[in-house]
């Protein structure tokens, strides 16, 4: 059944990208798209025990969309997809959806998010699946077998579906920054009290004095860059000009801000609403972060290939070298008819 894994994945991605473009999480919209694409036809044409194997494959693929790291909207789409596939499958009795123990917490968090955001249809679908006892609670997400293949194909996650990374913002909160600056002040005081003379103070200045404002500025810059990236992805035509960079004054401003405790945090909307545009209202410079150099492995061509390229052997000798010698053929008649290698028809996927 593995031969159709890619096709199944691309079909699911097609449906989900359409769903993503509608910008909604309503089940009615999903079911409209489902009917337009006639997705239930995906089960037609299988026979016998293939029905069960195919149901297993497609439920596996759909389940991957229901779990992190995808964005909330895609996860809702994945849930609707799972439900629809579960109901429309032709295997009798129905093939269940496998849910690993480690993913159960994510599912619970997801449900809580949906409840908080009052997406009642999402919660209903999830609880309906539970009622139908559609889940197998397993130790591992898929059946594991010892495979001797050298190259394991990495499952490629669709880039557009992935949740926007928000860990920096969640980690560096206002409270954290306040505490950090407090501790920093205390530390400075301790140092000065311990130091006996003026000279000693400068020599034990090991910590950066402006660590806290710089930390905050980095996080804010990152958030701004993310926003800018999303905006530029959507409207490619309009080239938006970057604002001017006045770094020194900005930093001074930020120091004052922290001291006076009157600054706004990069407001992250709850995950359930993030698929809509989020408004941020503060001004700081838009210096985007430097492009992280991605580490790519340099693949050296094999020795055989390089030899073939570099070493040029003329004509007949090359032919003799490359073709394998047949010992019984060392003494034969002059005339040898051309032997065509037998070609067996292989199915082209």
């Amino acid at each position: 059944m593995d031969f159709c894994r890619k096709e199944v994945k691309s079909d699911c991605e097609q449906l989900l990208s359409r769903f993503q473009r509608t910008g909604s999480v309503r089940f009615e919209i999903f079911s409209r798209l489902w009917r337009e694409m006639k997705f239930s036809h995906i089960f037609y044409g299988t026979a016998g025990h293939q029905k069960r194997a195919f149901s297993h494959l497609i439920l596996d693929t759909a389940r991957s969309f229901f779990l992190p790291p995808f964005s909330f909207q895609i996860r809702v789409g994945g849930l609707y997809l799972l439900y629809s596939l579960y109901q429309c499958q032709t295997a009798e009795p129905k093939e269940q959806i496998r849910l690993a123990l480690k993913d159960w917490e994510d599912v619970k968090k997801f449900e809580k998010n949906a409840v908080d955001a009052q997406h009642h249809d999402t919660v209903y679908i999830l609880q309906q699946l539970m009622l139908l006892k559609a889940f197998y609670f397993t130790a591992m997400p898929s059946q594991l077998v010892f495979k001797k293949k050298k190259k394991m194909e990495k499952s490629v996650l669709c880039e557009e579906f992935i949740e926007r990374a928000s860990r920096p913002q969640e980690l560096i909160t206002i409270d954290l920054l306040e505490e950090l600056s407090n501790i920093n002040e205390l530390y400075e005081k301790l140092k000065t009290s311990v130091a006996s003379s003026e000279q000693a103070v400068s020599s034990i200045n090991l910590v950066r004095t402006d660590m806290v404002p710089q930390l905050r500025s980095t996080v804010v810059d990152f958030y701004k860059w993310q926003q800018k990236k999303e905006v530029t992805v959507e409207d490619e035509d309009s080239g938006e000009g970057t604002s001017s960079q006045q770094e020194c004054s900005e930093r001074a401003e930020r120091l004052a801000d922290i001291k006076s405790r009157a600054y706004g945090q990069a407001a992250e909307a709850s995950k359930s609403r993030r698929h809509r545009q989020v408004e941020v209202d503060f001004t700081s410079n838009e210096a985007g972060p430097s492009h992280s150099s991605s580490y790519t492995r340099i693949y050296k061509r094999s020795l055989k290939a390089r030899t073939m390229e570099n070493v040029h052997i003329s004509g007949d000798k090359w032919k003799d070298v490359t073709s394998s010698s047949y010992i019984p053929r060392l003494t034969t008649l002059d005339f040898i008819p051309e032997e065509k290698p037998k070609k067996c028809k292989k199915f082209k996927w």
Partner: protein
Amino acid sequence: MLQTLIQRKKRQDHRANQKISKNRHDLYADELERLIVGRKPESTADIIPEGEIVLTINVYYPITSERISTSRPHMSLLMTGSHSLAELRDAICCVSDLQVCGEFSNTPDLAPDFISKDLFKSSFFFFEGVFYNDMRFPECQDISKTTIEWAKARNYPAYTQAKMEDTRFVDLTIKVGFPYLYCHQGDCEHLVIITDIRLTHKSDCLDKKLYPLLIRKDRLLTQKCTVCHLFIGRWFTTNDQYAPSDPCLFCDKCFRALHYDTAGNKLGEFLAYPYVDQGAFN
């Protein structure tokens, strides 16, 4: 248009063109599935309790056989957590268990009395550095002792022992998908992989008595008699003046007809061994 459907149609057209007859493995797989899915027990005492775990175990061909392949298991079994390892051992069918040792040309009627399964009952499982020996019968010996001593002599991490019949699956610590070993008959080794662990579900077969449950079995081609090509070969002869080839396979009827007269006396010179076909468990 869905890509899956396009590909499926192409594949089916290709198969129709090639006129491949239905795969015999698929035929039996369908049949097995019909028998297994959703069976309920007659009495409630035998029902599997809620919260019980179900393990899917793949047993592969013995290392000594030519058909060893890691992609296709010889058989797949379902077991519950409260079953013991000994029950799993009983459920594994290997042709080497039925082998009869010895030359029987002089006494062809005595052959079935010496099945290897009855003679050599020792076996063990090896999970995570522990050897689980089968000690149920007085004839069983501890065949893992040699390996343990060998390992100790060479500074390998120490291996321990336990009894197969006392260990249940819930007591084991295992890695899912990791290859383990089942050894019987002294040198017949099988690869054992636990592919899946999950909680029971209402659509599972809930009859405790039916476990270990066979969900998949590879059917092997049987070798037929050289003479009649009808019956499965049961006798294996060498140095036979009557046989067309050396060695040669005969079914019981043809063997007796060719090599013995009506009184049961041996005719000519030959050596005969009872043969167990690899497809004996089909």
